[in-house]
């Protein structure tokens, strides 16, 4: 960390936290003012991060706030953090500007703005953190504040999804915490820059696995990706954009810290991350192809793209010193994916705010005759599909190249993966790319090309024309959409610059070799993906997943078997029913363990009551006058006890029956209830007598015991 303190960094983190409070207060009086306020905070935040990015570039400098939370908060900026902090602030700015229109008809908007802007501060805190302690503090803060977005509209599904989100966040957070405990115990430092030195020669694998699980859960890595497909469709669109674009990246940030700062260039670790990455990439893509809800598709797509990024991180570890391509690919794909999801979710948000529907069959045909929306969505779709001339192509090519590069050295004695393994990874990579193209095509065709089968509805959609969103939203969407072709056509200007800034953080120092972006070898990879995607779309989606209806039109059908829902069929039953039932049963037994002995408690209480009776008169009467003054005696209880009541009632019933039949002439008149009660009272009185005499004996006994003990004590003291 540099000598000079860059206080601007602390401002970047705390300004939104303070701004959130002010915005909330403003919102209690004037709603318009609140909206302006929120936008102003987001814009100022963006400008501040820009200042950091422009002035600091890839220098490392930081600020420390000692004493806060004991260990102090430490922030730091370098190329990677500056770029990502800026991307985060940019996304916040765009979504906040978009929110004004989106939330027009929502309830509880104040709450939304409060937590959204707070999360901005927390997220910047995570991204600019210089030690894992600070990371963790802001990470937890971020998890909790973002929970509120998911639950924002308070529908039943939203609440359930939000619950899942929070559960994953809390569990993830605790697992990270365990990792931090272990790490700190072994190294004595949590400073990210010092970790590599401190971890030399120490076994920190357990700590790293713990942290990986926690950060991976936030990133959406398989098998903890379950919150994404649930949370995104129900969250408001601006929130989905941020969840998917930025919050998942904070998880990636954590994983990068493990991979690049602790287990740096560790091939085994790389293989592990690669494995998780491949699973996530394929699972997400398959889920997305099956989905028939636009936001769910985008959410699953996020899972898949996170998988791509994890593959990049895995390749970094595997390639070791030679990992420059993987590093740059990872960095660029992170930025790209954030921006894609920003655009795509906002486009989906435009649809939702007009129709309040997300299902493909319902929104089908909405985008016809809406050129701006169509182009924006198309730009995002082509970008995420990795089509040449769009920015996604650049990052995917780099990732692909890194796999190919490893294939060149795989199979040598010191490498973990053999040639067939890495070929498999490559093909899965290309297939996932193909699936990406397929599901984006599915969305695009459904919304922007096909007609709704309900004619009237289609007409209503067409009549919306220009009035479906306001100027502000148009500008926002337009700016986002222009970015991708711009970055894709001039990769050396924008993409290389970002990659240069980012690579120091990931431990790559050398300059990248010049890549001929549009050479045949690189284009072929993309071409394979696009062709595969087109084939999947035509054969699988159109052929299998669309079913002919009675009237001849085709509809999208959900072909995904419900049994494969990990959350409903595995996590929830196990965590909410099986485990609590078992553990709770055991605990219940433990809890009552002593109370079994306390069943003699009535006797003991009895003894005590008698004890007080004997010494009562002078003292208690006097005390009653004062302390218990004015209190009424409890009512006399009904005679007898439950047992005599039941017995008596039974006998009375039998008596009535008999009186009515056999003993008609000589009816029996005894009231058994009363009789039993009397018997019981007699019995009780006897017992009381016995009890009293016993207790008197006990009392004398214990008095004697006390005296003896005191005597012994004094004697002991004397002796000593």
């Amino acid at each position: 960390m540099g000598e000079t303190q860059i206080y601007l960094l602390a401002w970047i983190v705390f300004f939104p936290l303070a701004g959130a409070g002010v915005t909330y207060l403003a919102g209690r009086t004037d709603k318009r003012f609140r909206d302006y306020m929120a936008c102003a905070v987001a814009v100022i935040e963006f400008l501040m991060t820009m200042i950091i990015l422009i002035t600091m570039k890839d220098q490392t400098a930081g600020v420390e706030l000692p004493g806060i939370c004991q260990m102090g908060l430490k922030f730091e900026t370098d190329g990677f953090r500056a770029v990502y902090g800026t991307v985060a602030a940019f996304m916040w700015m765009m979504t906040t500007l978009f929110s004004t229109e989106y939330f027009r008809h929502y309830r509880n908007r104040n709450r939304y703005y409060l937590f959204m802007i707070m999360t901005l501060g927390a997220t910047e805190g995570v991204l600019f953190s210089a030690d894992l302690y600070t990371t963790f503090i802001f990470f937890e803060m971020m998890s909790f504040t973002s929970y509120v977005w998911v639950a924002q509209d308070e529908r039943k599904e939203s609440l359930r999804a939000a619950e899942t989100y929070l559960a994953i966040a809390v569990i993830g957070g605790l697992v990270i915490l365990m990792g931090l405990f272990l790490l700190y115990h072994q190294t004595g430092t949590l400073m990210i820059d010092d970790l590599y030195q401190a971890c030399q020669g120490k076994n920190v694998l357990a700590a790293c696995v713990c942290m990986f699980v926690g950060f991976g859960a936030k990133a959406g890595a398989f098998p903890l990706h379950i919150w994404l497909p649930k949370a995104h469709p129900v969250a408001p669109a601006p929130a989905s954009a941020l969840l998917s674009g930025i919050l998942t990246k904070t998880g990636i940030f954590g994983i990068l810290v493990i991979s690049c700062k602790i287990l740096f260039h560790d091939a085994r670790w790389g293989t592990f991350v690669l494995l998780v990455g491949v699973l996530t990439m394929v699972a997400g893509a398959v889920l997305a192809v099956f989905s028939i809800d636009i936001k769910r598709t985008l959410a699953c797509s996020s899972v898949s793209q996170i998988g791509f990024i994890l593959v990049g991180i895995g390749m970094q570890g595997l390639l070791g010193e030679e990992n420059i391509l993987a590093v740059r690919g990872t960095m660029l794909h992170m930025v790209n994916h954030s921006l894609f999801k920003l655009t795509l979710f906002m486009a989906a948000g435009v649809i939702y705010m007009n129709l309040h529907k997300l299902e493909l069959n319902e929104i089908r045909g909405f985008g016809r005759n809406k050129p701006l929306l169509k182009l924006a969505f198309l730009s995002g779709a082509l970008g995420i599909g990795g089509v040449p001339l769009f920015s996604g192509y650049i990052s995917k090519t780099l990732l692909h190249e890194s796999i190919v590069e490893y294939a060149g050295i795989a199979g040598k004695s010191d490498q973990i993966l053999g040639v067939p393994d890495i070929r498999l990874v490559e093909w899965l990579f290309l297939i996932s790319g193909g699936l990406t193209v397929a599901y984006m095509l599915k969305l695009f065709m459904a919304v922007f090309v096909e007609k709704n089968k309900d004619r009237q509805r289609q007409k209503a959609y067409d009549d919306l024309k220009g009035s479906y969103m306001n100027t502000m939203s148009k500008i926002v969407l337009g700016i986002c959409a222009v970015l991708f072709p711009l970055m894709g056509i001039l990769p050396d200007r924008f993409m290389n610059w970002m990659a240069d800034l980012g690579q120091t953080f990931m431990g790559a120092e050398e300059a990248a070799e010049q890549i001929s972006w549009f050479g045949m070898t690189n284009l072929s990879g993309s071409l394979i993906s696009v062709l595969l995607g087109a084939a999947v779309y035509l054969l699988v989606i159109r052929g299998w997943m669309m079913k002919k209806q009675a009237d001849g039109s085709k509809e999208y059908v959900n072909c995904w078997p419900a049994v494969l829902d990990l959350e409903d069929y595995l996590y929830r039953p196990v965590l909410l029913q099986v485990l609590p039932a078992v553990a709770g049963g055991v605990c219940k037994v433990l809890d009552k363990l002593v109370d079994v002995f306390a069943k003699i408690q009535p006797l003991a209480a009895y003894v005590e009551a008698s004890f007080f009776n004997t010494i009562q008169d002078p003292v208690i009467v006097e005390m009653k006058k004062d302390i218990y003054h004015g209190s009424e005696e409890p009512d006399d209880p009904e005679e007898g006890n439950p047992v005599t009541h039941v017995l008596g009632r039974c006998c009375n019933a039998v008596k009535h029956l008999l009186n009515a039949t056999i003993w008609k002439k000589h009816p029996c008149k005894t009231d058994f209830k009363h009789k039993f009660a009397l018997r019981y009272e007699q019995f009780r009185e006897n017992m009381m007598l016995i009890g009293r005499s016993m207790s008197y004996g006990l009392l004398l006994f214990s008095l004697g015991l006390c005296i003896t003990l005191i005597y012994l004590l004094i004697a002991a003291v004397r002796m000593a």
Binding site: G67, I68, E154, V170, M178, F181, G584, D591, Q601, A604
Partner: protein, 492 residues
């Protein structure tokens, strides 16, 4: 001399004030009573501030016989606890002024409330085991009227159960006292212990047994398995302010007893590595998990919080059982934090019960809309208890876990942190649904019939102060950590 008078005033004034209230025959109005109690409490608080800010001091009051001195000594630990007690007490008494409006016999309640405060002060300053035991028993007896205040059948049963458990614990302690008296040079609390090493040789087992019984005995008050049963019965039965102090402070006196005996009579070194430590650790961890699990499955809010206390106090006991400075620091911090947090939670729930009459977790949908400030305080305290940074619980758990890992005691060094984290997860599971349902009642919630039910300021302010404390003590914890660290350093 003025120092000593101050020390005595600190203890005696509340007792006298309380007795005056109890024995005064004049029927005051409710308002007058509440005001009187609060004034007395504030004066007592001033004495405390003057007293605590002064230097360390000790006074030998008198001796029972010639050998049993009643001796007070104000050390760092006593100061800390006295301060905590006072904060919680002032908040609770302020809250009670409004809450007790619905109850009868306020005079008795406030009277005993003040008396108990005085007794607790004496307990904090007690300088030897005899004095400690004396006031420990007195505390038990004077708190019983608070528990059975409502005098419903349930409350009386709870009161008797509380009394029985406490007496049982006290006798275990008494036995230990006899034994220890024989084998120590003095019963004055001295960091490092006062065992007479010459006399001890050959009787190690006896002394260990005695120490263990004393841990168990004080563990009754601290709610350690297997003698935790009274907590879950007594808390729901007592009025909310009484539950708040029971849970926030009274149980901590059991912890104080354990610290005094283990660290200042027997000595940590004597226990380290023996079966006593292992058993103690096991019991503490069982309690941590059991308490959380039972709280998770409990629907009655106050009972849920009571089980939560069972679990949280055992965090502290676990920290103490590790006999390790970091863990001890964590334990001391958790004493302070838990006192603020738990009394805040109890007062919040008390306010909900007071205003709406709802006592169960599944009834309080939309409560956050009705009583926003109270529920925000509840949420902050909940987050602090779970250990979400930057709120306070996180700091203490950090120290506890680091201490456990550093202690290197086989199995427990990793099992401890794991159990703590699982328990934290369960804590989230039983506290957060209240907030979630309270603030996010769902789209079917009837906003048209929403009625603001925020209680009056006298109730909200103490709750808010405690909630702020549980947040701010975490953010600006430096001095506190240092202070706790010094205590731990002296003791070990």
């Amino acid at each position: 001399m003025s120092d000593i008078i101050l020390l005595l005033l600190n203890m005696c004034f509340p007792v006298l004030a309380g007795l005056e209230m109890l024995l005064n025959r004049k029927e005051g109005s409710q308002k007058e009573l509440a005001r009187k109690a609060l004034t007395a409490m504030i004066i007592a608080g001033c004495f405390l501030i003057l007293n605590v800010s002064g230097k360390e001091k000790s006074v030998l009051l008198f001796s029972i016989g010639s050998e049993l001195p009643v001796y007070f000594h104000m050390d760092a630990l006593g100061r800390l606890l006295a301060a905590v007690v006072t904060v919680v007490w002032t908040a609770s008494i302020c809250f009670a002024g409004e809450y007790m409006k619905k109850e009868e016999d306020q005079k008795r309640f406030f009277g005993f409330f003040l008396v108990v405060y005085g007794v607790l002060m004496a307990l904090c300053y007690a300088g030897n085991l005899v004095t400690f035991y004396l006031f420990y028993e007195m505390m038990t007896l004077t708190t019983v009227p608070l528990v059975l205040h409502t005098r419903t059948r349930e409350a009386i049963t709870a009161g008797i159960k509380y009394l029985l458990y406490s007496l049982c614990g006290a006798y275990l302690v008494l036995f230990g006292t006899y034994v220890l008296n024989h084998y120590t040079t003095s019963l004055n609390f001295t960091p490092g212990g006062t065992l007479n090493l010459a006399a001890v040789t050959g009787h190690e087992t006896l002394i260990l047994t005695a120490a263990f019984l004393m841990i168990l005995g004080f563990g009754v008050k601290a709610g350690m398995f297997p003698l935790h049963g009274w907590l879950a019965t007594a808390h729901p039965a007592a009025p909310a302010p009484a539950s708040a102090v029971l849970s926030g402070v009274i149980v901590k006196m059991g912890v104080l007893g354990v610290i005094r005996v283990v660290y200042e009579i027997v000595g940590a070194d004597f226990i380290r590595g023996t079966w006593v430590q292992k058993t103690w650790l096991t019991l503490a961890l069982i309690t941590v998990f059991m308490g959380s699990m039972l709280a998770y499955r409990e629907n009655l809010l106050k009972k849920r919080l009571a089980y939560s206390t069972v679990s949280q106090i055992s965090y502290i006991l676990f920290g103490l059982a590790l006999l390790q400075p970091e863990a001890m620091t964590g334990a001391m911090l958790h004493v302070v934090f838990h006192a603020c947090i738990k009394s805040c939670l109890f007062l919040c729930v008390g306010a909900v019960i007071f205003r709406t009459g709802k006592t169960k977790a599944d009834q309080i949908r939309g409560i956050g809309k009705e009583m926003p400030v109270t529920m925000i305080c509840y949420t902050i305290a909940s987050l602090a208890l779970i250990g979400i940074p930057p709120a306070s619980g996180f700091i203490s758990k950090w120290y506890l876990a680091e201490g456990a890992l550093d202690s290197g005691i086989s199995v427990f060094f990793w099992l401890g942190p794991v159990v703590l984290l699982i328990s934290a997860l369960l804590t989230a599971g039983y506290l957060l649904p209240v907030t979630m349902k309270g603030f996010l009642p769902g789209d079917t919630y009837d906003y048209a019939h929403l009625e603001k039910k925020e209680p009056v300021k006298a109730m909200v302010i103490p709750v808010a102060v405690l909630a702020c404390l549980s947040l701010l003590l975490g953010i600006f914890c430096g001095p506190l950590v240092q202070y706790a660290g010094q205590i731990a350093e002296v003791m070990l």
